[in-house]
């Protein structure tokens, strides 16, 4: 026997993700199949000889390498991927592909907007867009990450001037990554592709194998994954969900029972859990179990919309089963009928090709396939993903001001041209809801504006000196301070005071130099303060 | 060998602009270009857009009478316009409107269906529709009043049987594609007729929504708007066309396209074809005679244009006041850099004018839709039979 130490290498982005590896001998028989974590050395016992190592990535790509084991100890280090863009590497790894060769650029699809919704046991409501979100863009795709509150169903809504409004469920994780690119299927600016994944590498990798239909790979990776899931104390909702779908797929009753015992009562807000529970119960022809399975399906309906498309399918099929069962007994099950009616409506607007629940509509409970444009009257929580074009949307200025008012800011880089509209936008914002809102708006703007646009912004904010200066304290470099102060004309003495205080509060390293300057400008010493 | 299409008035970029371009390009390839080149698919078709430089109305045409405003802006103007063109004698019934049209003329129902269906069709669907149009138009030509219509009771049956007839029809002078590519069958609906079905639904919806009201009245509002646009675009062009040294924006656009087309000419594709509609004809005439007289155009087709009228008014840069009906040389020569010039107009299109009395060396063709009003003006290029007849004219002039 020989020992092979095999390491699959990759960047930090994909490190520790499990990968399915098959080892074949020269008779082309599989002698080993295992899940290997990237950047972890794995020991494998094999007879001496020649082998083909087949590394099956979750994206479907297969890397092959021939190894000859000659001594007692052998070592092999195999690099996995060379992505052109590290930011997008995780998406490439799990198979969220986009067409590199397309001539279309995402920025050419104008006026794509988005917003977040959450579910609070009964209703869906718009959420404030997280202030912290990072946008990365190459010509073809945009990706961004979102921090999300835990234990809550969330939907990302995306639409655009010519983009059909849709909702995409967000994984039950605190962080997720979204990739938006022109649709590879429709190269005529009519559609975009939205892929969502979390940073939970183990769960997402298993999910990718399940979706690809590579059941062997899913089984090997899933077995390892589920063992950890069932025996470790800590868990996360995403891992539990994917693990549950995996066990259901395999029909592993024994481990499913353990899964039910451990998790069903701990995660009571996620419909997918109830759905998996229901289908586990249906695996036995037992009256009590069937009754409980029915209850689980109805409970799932109350909990909201399943996160995964497989969950929607199981929910629909389950309701169909109970409905037809009742009809076969010449009975009417009203609750099931009503639930089925509702889910049937979702079924007709669902994009079944996506692994994560994606459906079309104007609101999570107002379903329709063909809405495009910008929600003109209701722009709360709206954020631009690609810049709006004035030609198409005469209301852009108004939308912009409403966007500012609603304390959200475009992820697209603000150009000087956009800044020209700022005064009008602010004037409009000023009329609404008092100073505090305006202050917030300005401070938000200050956070987001790049330094070279700060000074023009200050000019635009002429009458809003105190908040402006306070907000800019963090970002203004010392050498532009005089200019900024001059731009903020007619400044009152006490405002210098506030500014000085802010400089110290913010612990600027140049605070002494700043205050010295201020003192000279106002003929007053601020050092005592 | 490139083809340039210079559009006319009232063309503005919007949702239907791209559809119109796709549809028109696809029909050009299958009809007109087939008469001129051996490989129409290889022809680059350029569509210079000058609509942005056209007239802008400061009050958004609020000066038009209110009743016209109410009737304007209907989402489904096109079915309305086309139905009006066909001039059916009976009141329209949404269940049998297509049948009524078909009984008048199969060619009319084909034009109606294809023109409406092309709106909203993407590029690939436009290609499929154009392929179908070739067979459909040929079928209509050889079967203007088929007997099977007598057994049809409603529009669904009409569409069904029309589909069968056209699918089974082999146009004459074409070989089947068996040698070129395999014949695939689809284990479901192949979807080729989906756009036609959608177009038919749109037509029915239009009839339902205008039930009881004469269509002609509704068209008037559309027409007034069209006239306003036409007058506006003419004034804008004439006042801002510029000079040879400093051409205006519209002319610059056309010049740039002509030069781009010239670069595409090679030994394999050595012809430059220009098709100009309405005001586009005036613009291209001005350009070819004054702004860019060195460029050679092999075939110029003006459709629904006013070139002769403008020359009568001596509005072109090269117009010679001394050449009139009474002068010794009593017609203007065709531009030297245009080898062949065909002018198409419809008697009922009051913006389409003949040229033979004013110009020498031009061939006039009347495309008689038999229908009235300006409504005919903007729909030439939507209609497969128009393309077929244009191709026929080209064929005739070549022979």
């Amino acid at each position: 026997m020989s020992k092979l130490f095999l390491t699959l290498t990759g960047t930090n982005t994909i490190s520790h993700a499990p990968v399915y590896v098959e080892i074949l001998d020269t008779d082309l028989e599989t002698v080993a199949e295992l899940a290997i974590l990237i950047n972890n050395k794995q020991k494998i016992q094999l007879e001496l000889g020649k082998y083909l190592i087949k590394i099956n990535l979750p994206s479907g790509k297969v890397i092959k390498k021939v190894l000859v084991l000659e001594g007692q100890l052998n070592e092999a280090v195999l690099p996995l991927m060379s992505s052109t863009n590290q930011r997008l590497e995780w998406h490439e790894f799990i198979g969220n592909t986009y067409n590199w060769n397309t001539e279309q650029e995402i920025s050419q699809i104008p006026s794509i907007w988005q917003r977040l919704w959450s579910y609070d046991k009964k209703n869906w409501k718009v959420e404030r867009w997280p202030t912290k979100w990072k946008l990365t863009q190459n010509k073809i795709a945009i990706s961004f990450s979102l921090e999300l509150p835990p234990n809550q169903l969330q939907l990302l809504q995306i639409g655009g001037a010519e983009i059909h409004w849709r909702f995409i469920a967000l994984p039950p994780e605190s962080n997720c990554e979204v990739l938006v690119s022109p649709s590879v299927n429709k190269p005529d600016f009519n559609d975009i592709n939205v892929a969502v994944t979390s940073n939970n590498r183990e769960a997402e990798t298993l999910l990718s194998y399940l979706i690809s239909g590579n059941i062997r790979a899913a089984k090997v990776v899933g077995d390892w994954f589920v063992e950890k899931l069932l025996f470790e104390k800590s868990f996360n909702a995403l891992g539990v969900t994917i693990g549950g779908y995996f066990l259901l797929k395999l029909g592993d009753d024994e481990r499913l029972a353990k899964w039910i015992n451990k998790f069903v009562n701990l995660i009571q807000w996620l419909p997918d859990i109830s759905i998996i529970h229901s289908w586990f119960l249906l695996r036995e022809d037992d009256v009590a179990r069937v009754k409980l399975a029915r209850s689980c399906l109805l409970e799932a309906m109350k909990q909201g919309i399943p996160v995964y498309t497989e969950g929607m399918r199981l929910l629909f099929d389950g309701l169909l089963l109970f409905n037809q069962d009742a009809l076969a007994r010449h009975e009417q099950d009203v609750e099931i009928e009503q639930a089925l009616e509702l889910i049937r409506n979702y079924a007709t607007v669902t994009d079944w090709s996506k692994p994560i629940m994606t459906f079309y509509g104007t609101a999570p409970e107002s379903l329709s396939l063909r809405n495009t444009g910008i929600p003109e009257k209701d722009t709360i929580g709206l954020v631009w993903l690609t810049p709006p074009t004035d030609d198409k949307w005469p209301l852009v200025q108004e939308i912009f001001s409403q966007t500012v008012e609603s304390r959200n800011l475009s992820g697209a880089i603000l150009s000087n041209a956009n800044l020209i509209k700022l005064p009008e936008a602010l004037a409009s914002a000023r009329k609404n809801q008092g100073v505090s809102n305006l202050a917030y708006t300005l401070s938000t703007l200050a956070e987001e504006l790049p330094p070279d646009l700060l000074l023009p912004a200050v000019s635009a904010f002429r009458k809003n000196r105190v908040y402006t200066l306070g907000a800019f304290t963090k970002k203004l470099p010392p050498d532009s301070l005089s200019e900024a102060l001059s731009a903020a004309r007619k400044i009152k003495t006490e405002h210098y005071h506030a500014f000085a205080r802010n400089a110290f509060t913010e612990k600027r390293s140049d605070s002494h130099a700043l205050i010295d300057k201020l003192s000279k400008m106002s003929n007053k010493s601020y050092f005592a303060a | 060998m490139p083809l340039i299409f210079v559009h006319g008035v009232n063309v503005r970029k919007g949702v239907s602009y791209d559809d119109d371009v796709n549809n028109r390009n696809a029909l050009f390839q299958r009809f007109l270009l087939k008469e001129i080149v051996s490989n129409p698919q290889k022809v680059k078709i350029l569509n210079p857009y000058w609509g942005d430089y056209g007239v802008k109305f400061a009050w958004d045409k609020k000066s038009l009478p209110q009743s016209a405003i109410e009737e304007l802006g209907s989402e489904d103007e096109l079915p309305l316009i086309l139905l009006n063109q066909i001039q059916l004698e009976q009141e329209l019934n949404s269940e049998t409107v297509l049948l009524q049209v078909a009984k008048k003329s199969i060619a009319d129902v084909i034009d109606l269906l294809w023109a409406v269906s092309a709106e909203g069709a993407d590029e690939s669907q436009a290609e499929d529709l154009a392929d179908l149009a070739v067979r459909a138009v040929d079928y209509a030509k050889h079967n203007p009043h088929p007997d099977w219509l007598n057994n049809i009771e409603n529009d669904d049956q009409l569409l069904r049987d029309l589909q069968e007839e056209i699918d089974n029809w082999q146009p004459q002078n074409t070989t089947s594609n068996a040698e070129d590519s395999p014949q695939w069958e689809v284990l479901g609906s192949d979807g080729n007729w989906n756009p036609i079905s959608r177009g038919a639904s749109r037509i029915k919806s239009t009839v339902v929504s205008w039930a009881g009201r004469p269509i002609t009245n509704n068209i008037r509002g559309v027409l007034k708007g069209e006239v306003a646009n036409f007058i506006g675009d003419v004034f804008v062009y004439l006042s801002k066309r510029g000079t040879q040294d400093e051409p205006g924006e519209i002319v610059k656009k056309i010049i740039a396209t002509l030069l781009e087309a010239k670069d595409l000419i090679n030994t394999e594709d050595d012809k430059l074809i220009v098709v100009a509609h309405s005001m586009g004809g005036n613009i291209i005439y001005d350009t070819l005679t004054h702004f860019l007289p060195d460029i050679e155009v092999d075939v110029l087709v003006t459709v629904g244009s006013q070139v002769a009228l403008f020359e009568e008014m001596k509005l072109f840069q090269v117009s010679d006041e001394t050449i009139t009906a009474q002068s010794k040389v009593n017609r203007v020569s065709k531009p030297a850099n245009v080898h062949r010039w065909i002018n198409v107009f419809d008697f009922n299109d009051f913006l389409g004018f003949a040229t033979e009395s004013v110009f020498q060396g031009v061939k006039d063709f009347e495309y008689r839709t038999g229908n009235l009003l300006l409504a005919a003006h903007n729909t030439y290029f939507n209609l497969p039979t128009f393309h077929e007849r244009l191709a026929e004219r080209i064929r005739d002039t070549e022979s």
Binding site: T30, G213, E284, D325, T350 | W184, E185, L187, D190
Partner: protein
């Protein structure tokens, strides 16, 4: 008569096959019967009965599963006609695939499958397909459209039928659906469609080894050449014949876990050929249920491309095994690839250039496995 084969030993597990091939639809476009006012663009077809017969031929001639030998075949074809047994030429009149006949034959097939828990149930359909709700196929029987008042009674609700098959004892079940999965615009306006479930869904949903293999993805089309076998059935038969197999304990086995993957790979490869409409199967398979045990190793297609491609015209290739030349790939001029069909094994590919314009100093090792093997060999241009 639809049972073209029956040989059942008592108390033993068998493979029971139900095959439907529908090409004749009297109530659709160009049909002979009273046509639907709106036939949704559905035409008469030529490839399904040919494909169904080809599938039946393969099952009869080749299917081998020692744990569940072939027990029966139910075959329905439209147009109805004769089926000629490939082994002995015996002729069987075969009934048309009307809904009534389908139900009757299905009942027989179901009862046989349900008889033993180790049975293998195989269901094959080739003909028109639609989907009202994406992912829920409707398979059209020959007499679809016969009654405009109950339009969908002659369409099979595949999803409900599948859910109903959970009742069936047969532990291994395979469903091969060779049909389109589009939603015509006419269906979008209909709220609910009640097609026919051949067996009503059960609230007991315990499954063994299952494979659902569709010729195409939801909302996509499936294709066949006129008067020839369909693309999907062709790939399916090739895979059953070995290209969908994997080696386990010295045997080449076609299993529920692997067959779908390999059919997909074969179709994706042939999608690249010129003038071929794009088609990608969809499958949902679990487990290691054995469908067929190959009597011999499969013959695997090999494609070898040289880089640079211009070198191909000057090259000669040979495949060696333990020092012996066992095969010589041939250059396919249209693709400029060297092609061969060999048994699965590890080969050395030697590339040499008689005219010395290029060279390849080292042999390339090739591990040839089903469904096909592609290799690119870098060669050096000599100055």
């Amino acid at each position: 008569m639809t049972t073209i084969f029956e040989k059942i030993e008592k108390d033993k597990a068998h493979t029971h096959v139900f095959i439907i091939g529908v090409g004749k639809y009297p109530h659709l476009l160009n049909g002979e019967g009273t046509k639907l006012d709106n036939p949704m663009g559905l035409r008469q077809l030529t490839s399904p009965p040919i494909s169904a017969k080809a599938f039946a031929d393969w099952i009869l001639k080749n299917l081998y599963n020692p744990d569940a030998p072939l027990g029966s075949i139910e075959l329905l074809l439209s147009p109805a006609g004769e089926y000629v047994q490939p082994q002995d030429g015996e002729q069987f009149p075969v009934e048309g695939a009307t809904m009534e006949n389908i139900k009757t034959a299905f009942d027989r097939w179901y009862n046989r499958c349900n008889f033993h828990k180790n049975n293998v149930a195989i269901f094959y359909f080739c003909g028109h397909g639609l989907e009202k709700i994406v992912g829920y196929p409707l398979l059209l029987a020959e007499d679809f459209g016969k009654n405009q008042l109950r339009l969908w009674e002659n369409a099979i609700d595949f999803n409900s039928t599948y859910l109903g098959m959970a009742r069936c004892q047969a532990k291994t079940q395979c469903y091969f659906i060779d049909a389109c999965r589009q939603t015509p615009s006419e269906l979008q306006e209909i709220q609910e469609i009640r097609a026919t479930a051949l067996v009503h869904p059960s609230t007991s949903q315990k499954w063994g080894e299952v494979l659902k293999l569709f010729a195409t993805h939801t909302s996509q089309k499936a294709y066949g050449l006129n008067d020839q076998i369909t693309r999907f059935t062709d790939a399916l038969i090739n895979c059953l014949n070995g290209l969908g197999s994997e080696k386990q304990k010295k045997q080449w086995l076609v299993t529920t876990g692997k067959l779908g993957l390999n059919v997909t790979k074969i179709l994706e490869k042939s999608n690249k050929e010129p003038n071929t409409p794009q088609q990608k199967p969809e499958f949902n398979g679990t487990g290691i249920g054995i469908i067929h045990v190959c009597s011999k190793p499969p013959s695997v297609p090999v494609d070898i491309a040289l880089n640079p491609i211009e070198a191909s015209n000057f090259a000669k290739l040979s495949l060696f095994q333990t020092g012996t030349c066992v095969s010589e790939p041939q250059l396919d001029l249209s693709s400029q690839k060297w092609k061969d069909i060999v048994l699965p094994n590890v080969y050395s590919c030697r590339t040499y250039f008689p005219l010395s314009k290029y060279c390849n100093p080292e042999d390339t090792e090739m591990w040839v496995q089903p469904p096909y093997t592609e290799e690119e060999i870098e060669v050096i241009k000599l100055v």
